[in-house]
Symmetry: C2
Subunit: 220 residues, 2 copies
DNA sequence: GACACTAGGTCTACGGTGTAGACTTGTCAA
DNA sequence: TTGACAAGTCTACACCGTAGACCTAGTGTC
């Protein structure tokens, strides 16, 4: 038989699985070589055979997230509509990992799915009338905006710890509630929406529309 | 004389000064109570008399950055133009601290300059035709986008360590240079712009225009 | 002037982190 | 059979945040 059962060998992919799980619900800072090593019955230093250092491990998490992007097939809709669905696909992949979305940025031009996404985005932008260089710039900024859209998702944040989330909401409510309505009439009257948007889907819808509308509007 | 010379007392404002300086050129992770304590000839634990914990210290840095925002006076330009200059003022304050810009987000609705900025932004958005709640949502997203614009400023990054920056650029160049021009025609031809935008001012100009154009475009 | 209170320091200690360097061991090719 | 090499181990170092007990100088009050 080729596969030894329960070989002592460490599987880097499984380590990334664990790291991703930890990072997802305790944040990337909570990922530690010692914790991972314990989970895999191995010495912390063993991990260094597979990951140069912690940054390298986090990069692997970023790659893993990017691998989940499923590109929509090109079709004959208008370039900006296609761009919208392309970016939606990107955001959809990130939404599963709100605290980790920024790990993808430095990997986008390195990992294959990121490159495919970028190439396609540039294609559509050029089709929309941008020069290649402008497309690069605009594309980069769109990606950054969308990543920050996900990392600052006010609903997903700390969804793993509902009581912490509740406490944070209460603190915010108290802080805004203490403001003088004369001095800050709009903030106080928009307090509800500022503390937490009504719907998560709407939040993402606005975010994506904003980015695409910006791109459409900036082109002359 | 009222002021004792060189009193042994710790001045929290000066501690924040040091922390800001360290964070600016080594990143917020490099700020440590021990380092700060040493710089102020004091025990690390002394700092806990003035800052609840490290998060509290970082919040103080965020407040400090927000305090630098100088709001433009209202005038009779169109709402979107006024919004543009308002957001430009925000970005200008952040640009001095590219690695630290996100510290401001959680402080914006707490610290006074942040509240003033937010109130004014809501005002302009409402003036532009948004409902108060939509204004809140759109405003939040604009702020987030601009913060991430600054934190991902590809030029400022590691400007303190020019050789590290050069190395990072070389790595990127090599990585993109190795790509197949048949598979990624646009990425390879836009490699220059993707690695590093031509001009920093242009980078910020595009970023701001994108955000404002998005807001203008989304309103129906 | 005596006295209690307290803000703001000190000291010690705990449990965590990344990771360098030298070592051992299991596996496979020649 | 014998090396070589990849992979895991062990030890150690220099950091980190911070809990808790303690000290001490200054201040306001009787």
């Amino acid at each position: 038989m080729i596969t030894k059962e329960t070989s002592r060998r460490l599987d880097p992919e499984k380590v990334v699985d664990s790291a991703l799980a930890i990072a997802d619900d305790e944040g990337p800072a909570a990922v530690s070589f010692r914790k991972l090593a314990a989970q895999h019955d191995v010495t912390p230093m063993a991990l260094y055979r597979h990951f140069k250092d912690k940054d390298d491990l986090l990069a692997a998490i970023g790659d893993r997230i990017l691998a989940d992007v499923v590109l929509p097939a090109p079709n004959d809709e208008r370039w900006d509509e296609q761009l919208h669905t392309l970016l939606t696909a990107f955001v959809t992949a990130l939404r599963g990992h709100p605290r980790l979305a920024d790990l993808t940025l430095p990997r986008i031009l390195i990992t294959e799915p990121g490159l495919a996404l970028s190439e396609r985005a540039l294609e559509l932008l050029v089709q929309g009338g941008f020069t290649v260089d402008d497309a690069a710039e605009v594309g980069r900024q769109a990606i950054c905006s969308l990543i920050s859209l996900v990392t600052t998702d006010p609903i997903a944040r700390e969804v793993s710890d509902p009581e912490a989330r509740e406490a944070s909401l209460r603190r915010k409510r108290a802080s805004l509630g203490a403001l003088s309505p004369e001095r800050y009439p709009l903030i106080t009257s928009a307090a509800g929406a500022l503390i937490c948007p009504e719907s998560r889907d709407r939040y993402y819808e606005i975010g994506l529309d904003l980015v695409v509308a910006g791109i459409r509007g900036i082109r002359e």
